[in-house]
């Protein structure tokens, strides 16, 4: 399966807000293969300089199983976060991950049972249920505080990104690349950074 980044556009930074001179806003529009704005895509901005405060695990983080589905579908957690997997269905689930970032296997557990997993490596953890093939979800374990999901309009806005070189990554299950992730180097200026990802499938 192929994913192409067809266009990479550099635009003028937005001057709508006044921030300290070293911080800027990164604005990304994600457009799906069907040409429509893609909601639910995760946009990450990796900066060389990491704000210490942002890297605390925090929590609590929850990836519940409800109506034979993972809720939320995509969960962004910092490295070291503990995510609980409460089963809110009447049926049992067997949540697993074969992802390199975190392999785990929560054997059959019933209603109102909660298991917890600590995600200590950055990366994308694809979740599945060994009973219910249709169930899938993702936990994005990030090292950066600049990570958001695109809204219904496919728009993702990340504020307070330090000016300077950065790597902007976009993740979405439909992206057929290792870890379903595309990455792109960028230089964030004081005026911010605006770009559009258009995902082309088959």
């Amino acid at each position: 399966m192929l994913i192409h980044v067809m266009r990479f556009t550099r635009a003028a930074a937005a001057l709508a807000c006044s921030f300290p001179a070293f911080a800027a806003t990164v604005s990304v529009d994600v457009i799906g293969a069907d040409g429509k704005p893609l909601a639910g895509a995760v946009v990450l901005v990796d900066t060389p300089r990491k704000p210490a405060g942002a890297m605390k695990p925090g929590g609590p983080y929850e990836m519940a199983q409800q109506n034979i589905a993972f809720v939320p579908h995509v969960l962004i957690v910092p490295v070291g976060a503990t995510v609980s997997f409460p089963n809110r269905d009447k049926v049992r689930h067997h949540v697993y991950s074969f992802s390199k970032a975190r392999k785990f296997d929560l054997k059959l557990y019933g209603k109102e049972e909660t298991r917890s997993v600590v995600f200590d490596k950055p990366g994308v953890v694809a979740l599945g249920c060994n009973i219910h093939d249709a169930m899938n979800g993702s936990i994005i374990v990030v090292e950066t505080p600049y990570a958001v999901q695109s809204d219904a309009k496919g728009h993702a806005t990340i504020t307070d990104v330090p000016v300077g070189g950065a790597t902007i990554r976009v993740w979405h299950p439909s992206i057929r690349a290792p870890d379903n992730m595309l990455s792109q180097s960028a230089t964030v200026t004081a005026t911010g950074y605006t770009t559009t990802y258009t995902i082309r499938g088959r």
Binding site: Y96, F98, K103, A126, N136, N180
Partner: protein, 784 residues
């Protein structure tokens, strides 16, 4: 340059023509049926094969899909396996490969692989395939789980099943060779023996069969291109083994383009082979039908033609003279024609018989006629000549038949002839009796052991005739004369025999009638003599050998020459002076007497004009001459040419002229009298003299025959007869002339009896014409 007519079918027989025409007609219609049938069969075969190909195509599609489904199911058992996914996730190659090996066995596929996201290939299989499939999962269009690839080792069908964890982390891939076995399995599915072949494209882009049973060709390329173009319909395709109906199904590669083609083909010959039985059946039915039609039309034609052929044969036979009665078999036109033909031919035969009878028989007596008689005589003579036998011919003539006919009328004469025929037929029942004409009959008597038979037959006939015959109430006493000639002595051919029999008859008549005479050579000699005389007579007429002498008739009343009787003299160059007694009879028989008599009449009148006016000329007229219808005009011409006064011409006739019938003779005499010509009755007292003649016509003169005159001086009875004649004549106001007066006693006796005139040697012999004038002169002087 010769122009040759185009050859045309001609039939000698109607039935052949009918049979051939029907046969050709039916054969033509059969041919049309056969062509239409062949077209229908062809179309049927094509449609059937097309339908089968289509069905096989869709069956194959289904099988193809089912196979894919089954394989997907088999694969998904592995791809869903938690352990396998775990092994894949951890890159555990030995585990993966052992799992694949187990899957191969379980799913019964020759080659199974796993391809991970990086394109790494796990599992055992040929390098070709391994290389080919590495990129397949990532290039396979979304939603497709299979593709066909062409490698150097052949075409393979790939089934691609993703391994989800839950996202795709790799693909289990089956590679199924599309080889001979696979094709055989496919062929097995079809109801008809289809040939299934995989076509792949070579480097140049042209298509050819993987298993080299289908060679590449331009036609094949075009065919495949059409199929790839979306119109995958069964159509004709020329293959190495001949024409076939084929259907190409493009097999899609990973990128969605056809990388191979499944070619389903069915040899046209095989398609048509299924109809071979039907074709043979139609052909057999056609041949049998044709035979039936030929037989039937022959039968029909026979039915129509046989009566016509019979008519034809009968007409031919009739043409050749034989008649056959046709069998009338039907009431139709032909039957009616046959009936008409029968009636017609019967009529023809009947008429022919009648005509033949008429031609060969005498209508009066129903006896064979002269023609038939001659044929009979000829054939009888030939037959007898061959056998060395004799044939006797009797010629018979009624005596005095003419008189009977004249006196009693022709109906009686005819009845007499009929009766005569009956008598002859009865008496000569062993012979052929014919009527030659008139009162002439002939009898052909075949050879007889009895040599006396001819004589006996002739005598029997004469005996029968001796008693009078009763004909229509009339007692007729008649006789017959018979002449007999016997072949071969009396003549070897029919003409000679008939002539000689005639001569014998002639002799019989001469010998007093009522007798029979056999032919003798002397008769023939006499006949020859007569013939010679006849020829000389003709010559004499032509060359003027005749002359007239005149004997004076002395008028006793006036004592002077009252006239001269003209007498014919013939001075022949070699014969010398031929006496009239010798040639007159021949002249009468041959009819030359007419011409001679004419000459005599002319010449006598001519010479008489030079004589004194009181001197008459007397001319003898033969009965034959007198009977001739032109006689009055002969007299008239002689008188007018010469200018002689009619009263100076005296014609002398004998009583025999009255034999032809008194009335007509008297009428003629009156006619002559009216012209002014004098008429004397000559030779009175001899023959059948009858006083009734004297009553019926007032002759000017009666000439007393010399036989009375000879004895008039010595015999009293003779003198009495002469006196009676003279007295009778005087009473009837007729003159008399005594003939043959030779002496003075006779003269004085005659003068004493009152005879008007005399003629004889006493006075003068006949003298030459140039002496007449001198005699008249001297006589006048003597008298004076």
């Amino acid at each position: 340059m010769t122009v040759r007519a185009l050859p045309r079918w001609r039939f000698r027989h109607l039935r052949t023509r009918l049979a051939v025409q029907y046969g050709v007609l039916f054969a033509a219609s059969l041919l049309v049926v056969a062509i239409v049938g062949q077209l229908v069969i062809w179309g049927q075969a094509r449609d059937a094969v097309r339908a089968e190909l289509r069905t096989s195509g869709s069956v194959y599609d289904r099988i193809w899909a089912m196979r894919a489904h089954a394989l997907m199911d088999s694969a998904s058992v592995l791809t869903r396996d938690f352990g396998f996914r775990s092994a894949v996730a951890s890159g555990d190659r030995p585990t993966i490969e052992s799992a694949l090996a187990s899957l191969r066995t379980r799913a019964d596929v020759p080659q199974a692989f796993f391809v991970d996201l990086q394109g790494q290939v796990f599992g055992t299989g040929s390098g070709d395939v391994r290389r080919a499939i590495a990129s397949v999962p990532t290039t396979l269009a979304r939603g497709r789980t299979e593709a066909v690839i062409a490698t150097r080792t052949g075409a393979f069908r790939l089934i691609v099943a993703p391994v989800l964890a839950p996202n795709e982390i790799g693909w289990v891939t089956f590679a199924l060779p599309l080889d001979r076995a696979e094709m055989a399995a496919l062929q097995h599915l079809s109801a008809i023996p289809l040939a299934a072949t995989i076509l792949t494209r070579d480097a140049k882009g042209s298509w050819h069969g993987v298993s080299s049973d289908v060679a590449g060709s331009r036609a094949l390329d075009a065919f495949v291109a059409t199929a790839i173009g979306g119109r995958s319909e069964p159509a004709f395709l020329a293959l190495r083994d001949g024409d076939a109906l084929a259907l190409a199904k493009p097999l899609l590669g990973p990128a969605g383009k056809p990388s191979a083609v499944l070619l389903l083909s069915y040899p046209w010959a095989a398609a048509m082979a299924a109809y071979r039985t039907m074709e043979v059946g139609i052909a057999l039915a056609g041949v049998m039908g044709l035979l039936l039609v030929l037989l039937g039309s022959r039968r029909l034609a026979n039915g129509i033609a046989r009566p016509i052929a019979a008519l034809d044969a009968a007409a031919r036979a009739l043409e050749e003279g034989t008649r056959t009665e046709l069998l009338v078999e039907s009431d139709d036109e032909v039957g009616r024609l046959a009936q008409s033909f029968n009636r017609m031919s019967a009529g023809i035969v009947e008429r022919e018989h009648r005509i033949t009878h008429l031609a060969f028989h005498d209508t009066l007596t129903s006896l064979p006629n002269r023609t038939y008689f001659c044929q009979q005589l000829e054939s009888e003579l030939q037959r007898s000549l061959k056998r060395g036998q004799r044939t006797t011919l009797l010629c018979l003539d009624l005596d005095g038949f003419k008189g009977i006919n004249d006196s009693l009328g022709h109906p009686i004469g005819d009845a007499l002839l009929r009766q005569m025929g009956d008598i002859l037929s009865r008496i000569a029942s062993d012979a052929v009796v014919a009527r030659l004409g008139g009162d002439e009959f002939a009898i052909i008597l075949a050879d007889h052991d009895d040599v006396d038979r001819p004589r006996a037959l002739a005598q029997a006939i004469l005996d029968e005739m001796r008693s009078p015959l009763l004909v229509d109430g009339h007692q007729i006493a008649t006789g017959a004369s018979i002449g007999i000639a016997i072949s071969p002595n009396d003549g070897a051919d029919s003409d000679a025999l008939l002539k000689n029999a005639d001569l014998a008859l002639y002799r019989a008549k001469q010998d007093g009638r009522g007798v029979f005479r056999f032919f003798e050579p002397a008769l023939d000699a006499a006949a020859r003599k007569r013939r010679a005389l006849e020829l000389d007579l003709r010559e004499a007429i032509q060359s003027g050998q005749f002359r007239l002498n005149f004997q004076p008739i002395f008028d006793l009343k006036r004592d002077r020459i009252g006239g001269f009787e003209a007498l014919l003299r013939w001075e022949h160059p070699t014969r010398g002076n031929v006496p009239p007694i010798e040639f007159i009879s021949v002249a009468e028989e041959t009819g030359l007497i007419i011409a001679i008599g004419d000459w005599v009449m002319q010449e006598a009148c001519r010479q008489a004009t030079a004589w004194p006016a009181h001197v008459r000329v007397a001319v003898n007229v033969s009965p034959l001459q007198f009977r001739n219808s032109g006689f009055p005009s002969v007299i008239f011409q002689a008188l007018s040419h010469s200018g002689l006064s009619p009263d100076r011409l005296e014609i002398e006739i004998t009583e025999s002229v009255f034999l032809d019938g008194e009335t007509t003779v008297v009428t003629l005499l009156h006619k002559l009298r009216a012209m002014g010509v004098r008429i004397a009755l000559d030779d009175f007292g001899t023959g059948y003299s009858s006083l009734s003649y004297l009553r019926s016509f007032p002759f000017d003169k009666i000439k007393i025959d010399k036989s009375f005159v000879d004895a008039v001086a010595e015999d009293r009875s003779a003198a009495a007869i002469v006196r009676a004649i003279v007295d009778l004549a005087t009473a009837l106001h007729m003159e008399t002339t005594a003939e043959g007066v030779e002496d003075r006693d006779q003269l004085s006796e005659l003068r004493g009896q009152g005879c008007s005139s005399i003629q004889g040697y006493l006075f003068s012999r006949p003298i030459e014409g140039n002496m007449v004038a001198a005699m008249i002169g001297s006589a006048m002087s003597a008298a004076a």
